[in-house]
C-alpha cells in the first residue's frame, strides 16, 4: 500500500487524536529518530487536484500544527511504502531538523494587495503630459515616432514600477517588523500590487493582525486580503531533488486553498 505524505513533524510520538485524511484514511506518524513523517494509506495516485482533496490535505496539516512544528509537503506527495519513506527520512534528516528548528513556533501569514492599476497609469500619464517634456525631436520619420512611442511607454512603466515600490515599502514597514522572514512579490499582475508571505512568531501573531487592521485604514483605492495562520508552506527550504517542495508548487497549493476558502464562505472566508 502506498503512503500519502502530509508533512514532517518534530515528534516521533504516536498521534493520539483521530485525524482522517485523503480517502477518509486514518492519519498516523511513522517515526524516524526524534522526528516523524505523517501519512495515511492511499489506494491510487491523485489524478486531479480537487477542492475537496486540497482542503483535506490542509486540514490535516493544520491539525498537526496544534501540537507540533510541521514541515508541510506539497499536495499529492505519495511514497511507495514504509521502506522508501524511511530511506527518504534518512537522506534528509539533517535538513528536516534544521527546518524544524527554524520554523519552530512560527506561522505563515499571507497579505495580498490590489491597487487600481488603470487609475495609477492614468495619473502618471496626466503628470507626464503636464510636464510636457519631449525628449525626442520628433519629425515625420516613422522610426523616430516609433521610438518616441516606445519611450513614452517606457517612462510610464518606470514610474508605475516606482510607485509600486513606494507603496510596498510602506506596507512592508507595517508588517515586516513582526516577521522573522518574508517573501514579497511585486506586480504578479498589473492589479495585484503585492503578494507577500510573512513568517511570524506565534506570540507576535496578534500584533501582525493588528498591523493589518491598521493598514486597512490607509490610502483609499487599495484592497487587501489577509490569510493565515498557515503552515509555513513558503519557508521550508529543501533541496529541489527531494521532490517534496518547491516554491512554485507551494504557491500553487496555497493559492488553491485561498481560492477554495473564498468560494465556500463570504465574510470570514
Amino acid at each position: 500500500m502506498k503512503l500519502y505524505l502530509y508533512g514532517i513533524i518534530d515528534s516521533s510520538d504516536e498521534i493520539t487524536d483521530s485525524i482522517y485524511g485523503l480517502e477518509g484514511s486514518g492519519v498516523y506518524n511513522i517515526p524516524f529518530c526524534d522526528i516523524g513523517a505523517v501519512v495515511s494509506q492511499i489506494s491510487q495516485p491523485i489524478q486531479n487536484v480537487t477542492e475537496g482533496a486540497v482542503l483535506e490535505h490542509e486540514v490535516v496539516v493544520e491539525k498537526l500544527m496544534a501540537n507540533s512544528t510541521v514541515l508541510p509537503v506539497r499536495f499529492g506527495t505519495i511514497i511507495d511504502g514504509r521502506d522508501s519513506l524511511l530511506s527518504m527520512m534518512q537522506s534528509y534528516y539533517k535538513n528536516f531538523k534544521d527546518n524544524l528548528a527554524r520554523l519552530h513556533n512560527k506561522l505563515e501569514f499571507g497579505i495580498k494587495v490590489i491597487w487600481p492599476a488603470d487609475k495609477v497609469k492614468a495619473n502618471i500619464i496626466k503628470v507626464l503630459k503636464k510636464d510636457g517634456q519631449k525628449t525626442l525631436q520628433s519629425d515625420n520619420s516613422p522610426s523616430k515616432r516609433f521610438v518616441e512611442g516606445k519611450f513614452e511607454e517606457y517612462k510610464i512603466g518606470k514610474e508605475f514600477d516606482a510607485k509600486a515600490d513606494k507603496f510596498i515599502k510602506v506596507m512592508d514597514i507595517f508588517f515586516g517588523r513582526f516577521a522573522a522572514e518574508k517573501k514579497l512579490v511585486k506586480l504578479k499582475t498589473e492589479n495585484l500590487l503585492l503578494d507577500a508571505v510573512y513568517l511570524v512568531e506565534k506570540d507576535k501573531q496578534n500584533d501582525f493582525r493588528e498591523a493589518f487592521e491598521h493598514i486597512k485604514s490607509g490610502p483609499p483605492g487599495l484592497k487587501y486580503l489577509f490569510s493565515g495562520p498557515w503552515p509555513a508552506y513558503n519557508f521550508v527550504i529543501l533541496p529541489k531533488k527531494s521532490g517534496l517542495l518547491t516554491d512554485s508548487q507551494k504557491t500553487d497549493l496555497l493559492g488553491k486553498v485561498i481560492q477554495d476558502q473564498m468560494l465556500v464562505g463570504a465574510n470570514s472566508i
Partner: protein
C-alpha cells in the same frame, strides 16, 4: 470541509480573478506532444526571442533617456525595433500565439518575463 486558517477580504471576487490571472499566464510546461510539437517548439523559441527583443528595447530606451544616442542612431534603433516587432507579430500570427502565451515559469526563479 473548511480549514481553520482565516482568509479575510472585502473583495473576494477580485482577488480570485487576479490569482487566476497570475496562474493562467504561467504555462507549466512546453507542449511537445506529437500533434502540437511544432507549436510547442515555436512557443519556446519565440518566448526566448521575445525576451531578447524586450531586453534590447529596454536598453535602447535607457540610452534614449540618458541622451547618449545621436539622431541618426535613434533613427537606426527605431527602424530595427520596428522591424523586430513586426516580424514577431508575423511569427506569432503564423503559430497562433498570443502575447500572454510567450512566457515561461522558471519555478523558484519566477517568470521569464
Amino acid at each position: 470541509m473548511i480549514a481553520n486558517a482565516l482568509v479575510e477580504t472585502e473583495s473576494p471576487e477580485e482577488f480570485v480573478e487576479e490569482i487566476q490571472k497570475a496562474q493562467d499566464c504561467l504555462p507549466k510546461k512546453i507542449d511537445a506532444n506529437p500533434k502540437t510539437v511544432e507549436k510547442g517548439l515555436a512557443k519556446l523559441v519565440l518566448t526566448l526571442i521575445e525576451l531578447i527583443r524586450k531586453l534590447l528595447e529596454k536598453q535602447a530606451m535607457r540610452r534614449v533617456e540618458a541622451g547618449s544616442l545621436s539622431d541618426e542612431e535613434i533613427e537606426n534603433v527605431g527602424e530595427t525595433l520596428m522591424k523586430l516587432e513586426n516580424k514577431m507579430d508575423e511569427l506569432k500570427g503564423i503559430f497562433g500565439l498570443k502575447d500572454e502565451e510567450l512566457n515561461l515559469n522558471l519555478g523558484p526563479l519566477g517568470d521569464l518575463m
